[in-house]
């Protein structure tokens, strides 16, 4: 398809386990963002990738969270030793090249993560 693709759509795991969430951005989009949507915190920025530049990790809530983007395309968000407060919908978005901040972001359907 032409949109941002995320997998899995749902993930249920036990507290303490590691999880990996995947994002396939729109082909040709150089910028990729991860956000988290939770009941108490709303929509929060996590991390940003742009081409070969160093990522902006300023939104990651703890060192249990990490992300990488291979070959300038697919990205994986990893959460180690999951905690119940990590339960949320994790959204990925991508955008085309342009002046910072003025390219509309296209969102995927998200991964709903539930920690038991």
């Amino acid at each position: 398809g032409a949109g941002v693709s995320q997998s899995p759509s749902n993930k249920v795991t036990e507290k303490g386990k590691d999880v990996e969430l995947r994002c396939d951005p729109i082909s040709g989009h150089t910028a990729l963002y991860w956000y988290r949507q939770s009941l108490g915190q709303g929509l929060e920025f996590l991390i940003y990738f742009q081409g070969n530049s160093a990522p902006d990790k300023s939104g990651l809530p703890s060192d249990r969270f990490s992300a990488e983007r291979t070959g300038g395309s697919v990205s994986t968000l990893t959460i180690q030793r999951t905690q119940q407060e990590d339960s949320a919908v994790y959204l990925c978005a991508s955008s085309g090249q342009g002046a910072y901040g003025n390219q509309p972001q296209h969102f995927g359907d998200g991964t709903r993560l539930s920690i038991l």
Binding site: L43, Q105, F107
Partner: protein
């Protein structure tokens, strides 16, 4: 820190009523402004955006928003809502020259009664 406030958390309207959703941001410099919509079971979609120029911007489905710089506001309006407008609406900003990360408001749930 920069923040975005949406004053209405839950709005209930009848079809054909007029809509205005408030949005204010806190940042003294240049911003880009967005409204996103999330229909039930769907992903976030861009409704409209403002970067520069005419402060009254028109988006999809008859929505419009007005940027008032002196009030740090970007309110969303629609003259006559339809049942299909039932959704959650998010106001967001990016800081010009920054990484483009979106700073979102808490969202407003709009319920339109047929």
């Amino acid at each position: 820190a920069q923040s975005v406030s949406q004053h209405n958390h839950h709005v209930i309207l009848s079809e054909a009523a007029s809509l205005e959703l408030g949005c204010n941001y806190s940042y003294g410099g240049t911003v880009n402004l967005f409204w996103y919509v999330q229909y039930p079971g769907q992903h976030l979609q861009l409704l409209l955006k403002y970067f520069s120029g005419d402060p009254l911007v028109k988006g999809i489905k008859g929505f419009e928003a007005e940027f008032i710089k002196s009030k740090f506001s970007f309110n969303l309006r629609k003259p006559s809502v339809q049942w299909s407008d039932t959704a959650e609406y998010f106001c967001a900003v990016t800081i010009s020259g920054n990484t483009g990360k979106l700073i979102f408001g808490q969202g407003t749930t709009l319920q339109v009664k047929p």
